[in-house]
């Protein structure tokens, strides 16, 4: 069943059939290929990357300095867009929402994932089935997830309000996506619903990779579950948990589909994220100026890269202090 072993065997067994004198090789260092070989392997990917990633990034930077209301006659306006950004209330709101979401929500995702993984790790019946079932939302598109949760949050007949009424908490029912103080939290919960399974699988793999001697030693010392979790499991899993936090963080900084379909940034900008605001300024409001959203994209690009670098550094620093 092991595909790599089988492939290696096939590759090796095929080798003797083609035998050429070693002199044909001219003693070439396998590590130093000809320029041509290298180009054949790399050029297609590099050309595509240059044309559809590198060039667009540069072009967005350039666009941010222009007024592009008329795409055929761009008007250079220098840093005017960037000045305008600082007094754009909606943009500042969007940045704040996205940062709150990116920094706080990953705790929910990773904690849920860890909790679920611990449940399965404790050896419960049907663990294999449960792992597969819990992972399912990860595979669904945001469009599908958004529609499901739009209905769950529906005021009149949504499952959430229905459940609250069923247990007598009628006072708690509300239009979850329609009120500005609950809408962002509602989106966070939906996002966590989709991604908890992902974190669970990764945590479970890390749990199974923990050295069993350490856990057994703790068992002998009558170490309770909570203590074992706090003093042994979490410290040992720190690299995995931090990695998951960063992944979740980056994912949330990019989030668009979920917000766009569920709330379109409303009500009253309470769920506006940078992605949805850029989209609105570029394509949805009929402003027809791609320059201003480009400037937002540039600012956001710098913030995302800086935040990712900062998290990376901060976590690495702690690693170092730890040991």
């Amino acid at each position: 069943m092991s595909a790599p072993a089988e492939a290696a065997r096939i590759a090796l067994s095929a080798a003797p059939r083609r035998w050429w004198p070693a002199s044909r090789q001219g003693g070439r260092d396998p590590g130093a290929p000809s320029w041509l070989t290298l180009m054949v392997f790399l050029a297609p990917a590099l050309v595509l990357y240059a044309g559809l990633t590198a060039y667009p990034v540069i072009r967005t930077f350039a666009d941010s300095l222009y007024d592009l209301e008329n795409m055929d006659a761009p008007r250079f306006i220098g840093l005017a867009h960037f000045v305008q950004i600082w007094s754009d209330e909606t943009f500042l709101r969007a940045i704040r929402n996205t940062l709150v979401w990116s920094f706080i929500a990953p705790f929910l995702d990773v904690a849920t994932g860890l909790l679920l993984a611990l449940c399965l790790y404790a050896g419960v019946p049907f663990a294999r089935f449960l792992r597969i079932a819990w992972f399912t939302p990860v595979l669904l598109s945001y469009v599908v997830v958004s529609i499901l949760w739009l209905w769950i949050y529906n005021y009149d007949w949504g499952a959430l309000n229905l459940a609250l009424r069923a247990v007598g908490l009628d006072g708690w029912t509300r239009a979850w996506l329609g009120e500005s103080n609950t809408a962002l939290a509602a989106l966070m919960v939906t996002h966590a619903w989709k991604w908890a399974g992902f974190n669970m699988v990764v945590c479970l793999a890390a749990l199974h990779a923990l050295p069993s001697e350490v856990l057994e030693a703790a068992e002998l010392d009558h170490c309770g579950w909570a203590a074992k979790l706090r003093h042994i499991i979490i410290p040992l899993m720190r690299p995995t948990l931090l990695n998951l936090y960063i992944l979740a963080f980056i994912g949330k900084m990019k989030v668009f589909d979920l917000v766009w379909i569920m709330t379109q940034g409303g009500p009253m900008w309470s769920t506006e994220t940078v992605s949805t605001y850029v989209y609105k300024r570029a394509f949805a409001w009929n402003t027809f100026d791609l320059g201003y959203p480009s400037a937002i994209a540039v600012v956001w690009f710098i913030i995302v890269l800086a935040a990712a670098a900062l998290l990376h550094l901060a976590f690495r620093q702690r690693e170092k202090l730890e040991y």
Binding site: W20, L42, P44, L52, P56, A122, S141, F256, A297, F301
Partner: protein
């Protein structure tokens, strides 16, 4: 004896009560929404309005036919298939070749190239979205399948190269030296050793790219506006926009998008889980 065993079991069960409660509740939390939509997909909107949580009896299977034919879900499905299969095929070939070059050959700038590709994994999509729109318009690729395919390839290329490079770099050097002594050219080495040995990693990236692109929405909605070229996620979202009240039909559309994923998942669940978490699990 018997009673004692049952007593033990009961106490074990009680001790694990909270644990089992978490398991049951979370399983309901992930699966009930599906069952709910599944039930609604077989009921008419009138039936749903009367009772949102009723069972689908009688089951209106004809709704799937109606969505498929009359609401053009067949078209959306076909568009998604063409775009995603082409993009995944191209990104796999280009990515594998580039990953091989980066993993195997020493050349100046190797690590720099790798770092540039790697760091673009975290780029927010907006930094390329607006200019890709302009570029595709300039080159008459806006509103075409070819344009969307090319963009999809470029979106998934960094992650593909990242995963494949890590795997290819672990293939033992002896294999290459043996092959070289046997007179394999660089291209034969790639095709006959790297590709077969690296197949598990290649399958992983194919799955990952397939799921990501099948679900992709932002670029599909910006770069394609023609109704006949819409992919499934955009098709469903637009359908919902047009027929907001027709919950029954929306549920049917959602199920059309979900069922293929679930079918594939039931057969290849481990492979899919492994593929989706590639890069996160060390």
């Amino acid at each position: 004896m018997q009673a004692q065993r049952w007593g033990d079991r009961l106490s074990a069960l009680l001790r694990r009560g909270p644990l089992l409660a978490v398991l049951v509740l979370y399983t309901l939390y992930t699966t009930l929404p599906f069952l709910w939509v599944g039930a609604m997909s077989l009921r008419t909107t009138a039936e749903i309005s009367a009772d949102h949580y009723g069972l689908p009896s009688p089951a209106h299977w004809g709704k799937f036919r109606a969505a498929w034919v009359d609401s053009n879900f067949a078209g959306y499905f076909w568009n998604s298939t063409v775009v995603v299969v082409s993009a995944v095929a191209i990104v796999t070939i280009l990515g594998a070749m580039a990953a091989h070059a980066l993993a195997r050959y020493k050349f100046p700038g190797n690590r720099l190239l790798y770092f540039i590709l790697f760091s673009s994994i975290i780029f927010p999509p907006q930094i390329v979205l607006l200019s890709l729109f302009q570029i595709l318009v300039n080159y008459n690729l806006y509103n075409t399948r070819a344009g969307l395919i090319l963009v999809y390839v470029s979106l998934q290329l960094p992650l593909t190269v990242f995963i494949l490079e890590a795997f290819f770099a672990r293939i033992p050097q002896d294999l290459f030296e043996a092959a070289r002594i046997d007179g394999y050219t660089d291209f034969q080495i790639f095709l006959r050793i790297v590709v077969p040995v690296g197949m598990p990693a290649i399958v992983t990236t194919v799955i990952l790219n397939f799921v990501h692109l099948w679900n992709e929405y932002l670029f599909a909605v910006v770069l394609v506006s023609d109704e006949d070229l819409r992919t499934l996620p955009v098709g469903i979202q637009r359908f919902m926009g047009d027929y907001f009240q027709d919950i029954g039909m929306i549920a049917t559309g959602v199920m059309i998008a979900v069922i293929p994923v679930i079918v594939v998942y039931t057969f290849f669940s481990e492979k899919l889980i492994q593929g989706m978490t590639a890069g996160a699990v060390k």
